[in-house]
């Protein structure tokens, strides 16, 4: 099936000379949850803003469901819902009025039934006649999502949806995103919380200093870059690692009670069996062992650090 979003050779240099994006290529599959991961200032918001028409691209093209965002902006934009990072609302309007306004703005005829459905899904139905100024931060965040969903978009951008949101609400937000995906909406979310991407995304893209340095399936990414560690708890403390075991690059803990072996799950020879045998031969006995897997966070930190 055709990709719902196709970004080709996109670059953005601001008037100040700051190069925010460089040669971005990105294809988003219909119906997936895609997490765009990157530190602050990496270019996540600029990329979204260009796709949504808020910032002009310097070079490159963006196709939304085959529609060019500049030549065919009406068709392209009417498919997109945007929830920006900032909670920008018309404080003195009611919830109902502002969500209805958004629907009209995106060229859809009034449909009270749909607005009702959206407000109910976001637990805002009982607040529909309240002025926005009276809502809590979490409710405002949900209201922003309601506005973005008011015109039944096929592609939803969530720019840091859980920034400044408490733990419970964060869980709710994740749940909501999954529910939306189940209704067929493609979701692109930006975050700098790794666990969020790990929890929700089907695929992950890492953006750093205006360049996409990696795009992959989440599981694939974790498998590919995942490093595992085997930690052995020794029966007797060790002063130093015997020289005949130097090939394994073992790390000995300060108290001499633990030996750590780091290995790559991708390599042909993992070496655990050989290691255990060699340990036995060397007369080093252990009473317990455990393995740990690196998280997406470790992967991310190592990626960004390598690049510097």
């Amino acid at each position: 099936m055709q990709d719902i979003l196709l970004v080709s050779d996109l670059s953005k240099t601001y008037a100040s000379g700051f190069s925010a994006l460089r040669n971005i290529h990105l294809a988003i599959r219909r119906g997936e949850i895609f997490a765009l991961l990157g530190p602050n200032g990496a270019g996540k918001t600029t990329l979204i803003s260009i796709i949504c028409g808020i910032v002009n691209p310097s070079t490159g093209t963006v196709l939304v469901n085959g529609h060019d965002i500049i030549r065919d902006y009406r068709a392209a934009r009417s498919m997109i819902g945007l929830v920006p990072q900032e909670l920008s609302t018309d404080a003195f309007e009611t919830v109902w009025a502002t969500v209805s306004f958004s629907r009209g703005l995106f060229g859809k005829p009034a449909d009270p039934g749909h607005i009702e459905k959206v407000l109910k899904a976001l637990s805002l139905w009982d607040k529909k006649d309240q002025k926005i100024i009276t809502l809590s931060g979490g409710m405002k965040r949900r209201l922003m999502i309601a506005k973005a969903l008011s015109h039944e978009p096929q592609l939803l951008f969530l720019d840091e949806p859980t920034a400044g949101v408490d733990v419970v609400l964060r869980r709710d937000m994740w749940e909501l995103v999954r529910t939306l995906r189940d209704t067929g909406v493609t979701i692109i979310l930006t975050t700098h919380y790794i666990d969020e991407a790990e929890e929700m995304a089907d695929r992950i893209g890492v953006i750093h200093k205006g360049e996409i340095i990696l795009v992959d399936d989440k599981s694939e990414l974790m498998r590919k870059l995942g490093r595992k560690q085997l930690v052995l708890q020794l029966q007797q403390t060790l002063k130093q690692v015997p020289s005949e075991l130097s090939a394994y690059a073992l790390e000995l803990s300060n108290d001499g009670c633990e030996l750590t072996y780091t290995y790559d799950t991708q390599s042909e020879r993992i070496g655990i069996v050989a290691l255990l045998k060699d340990l036995n031969d060397a007369g080093i006995l252990f009473k317990d062992l455990r393995t740990t897997e690196s998280s997406l966070e470790d992967i991310f930190v190592s990626l960004v650090r390598d690049d510097q």
């Binding site: 808020i54 920008s88 609302t89 404080a91 009209g104 703005l105 060229g107």
Partner: protein, 253 residues
């Protein structure tokens, strides 16, 4: 044409008007009444008739113009500046809506409000002085053209302004002096010859003159010139707005 969007913005803007209706109406009605008390009764009674109409009656078109200009500018500049200030402009920029549609809806709503106010002021004036309108069609035409033109000016100011001070400074430093010196309270032939020449560089003179002609058949400059100048301001404003949108001036980086 995204009719739904135009309707959404227009209704949204007018909702703000209705919500603030009392303050939007009361203040111009009070200030107009004060003008009549001061200029119409207190001072006006000592001023002879101008071109066959009493001074109180003479200043009515000028007063309506005065409010129309200031209200058009403040409505339209606030209407587009406020979303920029609160950040809700993101939605407008990301919507499938053309620049023409944005201008139509924002300027249309601002002009509607100031036309309503202009008519209310006219009705208030009617309570104080005898009024007659010789050319109602022209009266409405000047009313609408002026409201639209100055709503466009307000829209330009609203996009240009990056703070509330700037929103105030143009109306305060440029528009108010121009309207006061634009013949609202006098016929320019009351001025010394040199200042009569200077007054002809003031665009407001043409608006007031044409508008007053539609009431009493009295004008400082010919009606054709008034209309031509009004249209010229309209076209200049439209050109600036078109340029702003084409370049994304202060809206898009």
């Amino acid at each position: 044409m995204n009719i739904h969007a135009i309707r959404a913005i227009y209704t949204f803007e007018m909702a703000r008007t209705w919500r603030t209706l009392m303050q939007s109406i009361i203040s111009p009605v009070i200030s107009t009444s004060l003008y009549f008390v001061v200029f119409g009764a207190a001072i006006g009674s000592r001023i002879p008739e101008v071109g066959g109409v009493s001074y109180g009656t003479f200043i009515v078109p000028g007063l309506v113009m005065l409010s129309l200009l200031t209200q058009s500018i403040s409505n339209a500049s606030f209407g587009i500046y406020f979303p920029k200030f609160t950040g809700t402009i993101y939605e407008l920029l990301s919507a499938p809506i053309s620049y023409v549609e944005i201008v139509l809806s924002y300027v249309g709503a601002a002009a509607t409000k100031s036309i309503i106010l202009g008519l209310i002021i006219l009705a208030t004036a009617y309570l104080f002085v005898p009024l007659h309108i010789d050319h109602p069609f022209w009266m409405i035409l000047f009313l609408v053209l002026t409201a639209v033109t100055f709503s466009l000016v307000g829209f330009i100011i609203g996009i240009w302004a990056d703070g509330f001070e700037k929103l105030q400074v143009v109306p305060l430093l440029i528009i108010t002096p121009l309207t006061f010196l634009g013949g609202s309270f006098y016929s320019i032939d009351m001025l010394p010859p040199f200042w009569q020449k200077v007054a002809l560089f003031n665009p407001v003179v043409y608006l007031v003159s044409g508008f007053r002609w539609s009431f009493y058949g009295l004008s400082d400059v010919s009606i054709a010139l008034s209309l031509a100048m009004t249209m010229a301001f309209l076209i200049i404003s439209l050109t600036i707005v078109a340029w702003m949108f084409r370049t994304g001036y202060r809206l898009k980086s």
